[in-house]
């Protein structure tokens, strides 16, 4: 009990002591928004009052469809990220370790990465249709480049002395990969995965906008809102997209911190 009391006390204290100056601008924004819509200075069909947004948010969030859509989007995001991440680590490590691979694949890789991601979409949609396969391929591709680049950078930074020690100990290939390459390059690989996660979420939304025919994802909710001129729904959708992005970002940061604990400790 004593424990709990001190714990809750510190929680409240930290809540009060938090820097609230960051909240000033958003609150001001909302106040101005509410003010001009209440006064009717703007077209309230286009710039909707914040109260309506809250109402629509409540309606949407209490509906099961919303969670189905969100989980479908997250599922695609996860699968695409997994595929792209693994492929990125493998190719990045290969290019970093083997001079041959780097000579042969490297230039092509570094050139292809300049093709803007969305430029692949028309090709992917022609070859793979507009279904989940096309979307997941696109998401995987978007996660692939940052992960591969991060891994390559990390592997290239491994000190020569470490490689020589591994050679003297006659590490075989698996040992070499799992005991030397992966741990030594882990900071850059994790940084790449972090960037890949953000890119994958952008691609998830993008693929739902651009390949939307019969999707159910969160991006499709927004598109539906746009088609029905439902500005409230669009704002709710945008907020949810941003929230998921923030949560993913936080998650990646804390995982990165946890996994790299051994380096600082």
């Amino acid at each position: 009990m004593e424990h709990f009391r001190t714990f809750s006390g510190s929680l409240i204290l930290s809540f009060i002591k938090r820097d609230w100056r960051g909240a000033v601008l958003p609150l001001l924004f909302i106040l101005v928004w509410a003010g001009i819509t209440a006064q009717g200075w703007v077209n309230t069909k286009l710039i909707v009052p914040p109260v309506n947004v809250v109402k629509v948010a409540y309606q949407t969030l209490t509906h099961a469809d919303f969670y189905v859509g969100l989980s479908i989007s997250l599922w695609r995001d996860g699968v695409g990220f997994l595929i792209g991440g693994v492929a990125g680590i493998v190719l990045g490590a290969l290019m970093g370790v083997s001079r041959w691979a780097n000579r042969i694949v490297g230039p092509t890789f570094h050139t292809l990465k300049h093709i803007s991601l969305f430029a692949w979409l028309p090709l992917i949609s022609t070859w793979m249709g507009q279904g989940d396969v096309a979307k997941i391929i696109f998401i995987a591709l978007s996660a692939f480049y940052p992960v591969a680049l991060g891994t390559l950078e990390g592997v290239q930074r491994i000190a020569k002395a470490q490689v020589e020690v591994a050679k003297v100990y006659a590490f075989n290939r698996t040992q070499f990969f799992f005991k030397l390459v992966l741990p030594a390059a882990s900071p850059q690989i994790l940084a790449g995965l972090h960037l890949g996660l953000i890119a994958a979420w952008l691609a998830t939304i993008g693929s739902e906008y651009l390949l939307a025919k019969s999707g159910l994802g969160i991006g499709d909710t927004v598109i539906k809102g746009k088609a029905a001129f439902n500005v409230e729904l669009i704002i709710v959708g945008v907020l949810v997209i941003g929230l998921v992005g923030t949560v993913l970002n936080r998650l990646a940061s804390s995982v990165e911190h946890q996994l790299l604990h051994w380096r600082n400790g």
């Binding site: 820097d19 100056r21 960051g22 909240a23 000033v24 601008l25 958003p26 924004f29 286009l46 710039i47 000579r103 042969i104 694949v105 490297g106 230039p107 092509t108 050139t111 292809l112 300049h114 093709i115 803007s116 991601l117 969305f118 430029a119 692949w120 979409l121 028309p122 090709l123 949609s125 022609t126 070859w127 020589e164 050679k167 003297v168 006659a170 979420w201 952008l202 939304i205 993008g206 906008y209 651009l210 927004v222 598109i223 809102g225 746009k226 001129f229 500005v231 669009i234 704002i235 959708g237 945008v238 997209i241 941003g242 992005g245 923030t246 970002n249």
Partner: protein, 320 residues
């Protein structure tokens, strides 16, 4: 344990024992050979460095060696694309895949020359470049201003940074439907979205760059009694230039990414539109031409900025 082991091995048939020994020996040899190889490599590189530095006679041969290495890496670099191209050529030649899905290279080439000759392609490229430049200009300028302001004034940073963070975390495409409602699908939409793509990395990198100026530098400047302006011009900005430049590079890449996305979604001209158009008519040759040009322009942007980077930051190399 050892006794048991030796006993057991003593019981082994002679042949097998020999083989086992042989194996052990082989392993030992392999390790020794590896160590030798490592040593030789080190010696070799040391020797090469020595000859490079000391001998003028060998200069020509060293140059030749460098030329050969360049040629070699050039050939290697083209190997992979050539293989892909050959596979594509063969597939198109035997028509294993219908040409609506994979057009022949010759068709793509002739489409390119047709589009170029009619001036259509240049028009699309010009419009896309114009959009990306104005969007990037707006985004980079506002980003530099906000990043500098946040980097120099901690109070402002406390107020603005949280909302900036929130804003940057909604992917740029997330804003699209809302923006379409508010500003329509005209140029304004494109410029706003493209500038958002550039604004976020530029702001972040400028702010972080100014934050990361080592306090020792500033102390030295204080000792020399630099005025505020001198401090900014001679110490803070030069020291923060590498990360700021990095931000500009990222910003241009993001702006280009945003341009293609927004042109795919809402446009009646430009490279993205060309892709949508080709895709709708199942003319993949047009799409491929557009993809190649998008990639080429992205590559040129990056090369230009990296050349400018080495030029702008040339003073840094003198230290090492």
């Amino acid at each position: 344990m050892l006794k048991i082991f030796s006993f057991a091995s003593g019981r082994l048939p002679l042949k097998m024992q020999n083989r086992k020994q042989h194996k052990e020996q082989n392993k030992q040899h392999a390790i020794e050979r590896r160590a030798l190889r490592v040593e030789r490599n080190v010696k070799h590189s040391v020797k090469r460095n020595l000859t490079r530095k000391n001998s003028g006679v060998l200069g020509v041969s060293v140059m030749l060696e460098g030329l050969m290495a360049k040629l070699k890496s050039f050939l290697f670099a083209w190997m992979f694309p050539c293989i892909i191209f050959c596979v594509w050529l063969v597939i198109a030649h035997f028509e294993w895949i219908p040409s609506q899905i994979l057009p022949a290279p010759s068709l793509v080439a002739s489409t390119f020359t047709d589009l170029w000759a009619s001036g259509e392609l240049q028009g699309h490229i010009g419009i896309s470049l114009q959009r990306v430049m104005s969007g990037f200009g707006v985004g980079a300028l506002t980003g530099l201003l906000l990043g500098t302001a946040m980097g120099l004034s901690p109070t402002l940073k406390d107020y603005v940074y949280p909302i900036f963070k929130l804003y940057s975390q909604v992917p740029m495409l997330g804003w699209l439907p809302l923006l379409i409602m508010l500003v329509g699908i005209d140029e304004a939409l494109k410029i706003i979205l493209i500038s958002k793509g550039a604004f976020v990395p530029v702001t972040l990198n400028t702010y972080k760059g100014l934050q990361g100026v080592p306090s020792i530098y500033i102390e030295v400047a204080r000792v020399y009694r630099f005025t505020k302006w001198q401090l900014l011009k001679k110490v803070v900005f030069p020291s923060a230039l590498p990360p700021i430049w990095m931000g500009l590079r990222h910003g241009l890449t993001h702006a280009w990414l945003a341009l293609v996305a927004v042109e795919l979604l809402a446009s009646s001209e430009g490279l993205g539109f060309l892709m949508v158009y080709g895709r709708q008519l199942y003319q993949l040759d047009v799409v491929l031409v557009a993809v190649v040009i998008v990639g080429g322009i992205g590559l040129i942007f990056d090369k230009l900025l990296s050349v400018a980077e080495t030029y702008l930051l040339r003073w840094r190399h003198d230290a090492f």
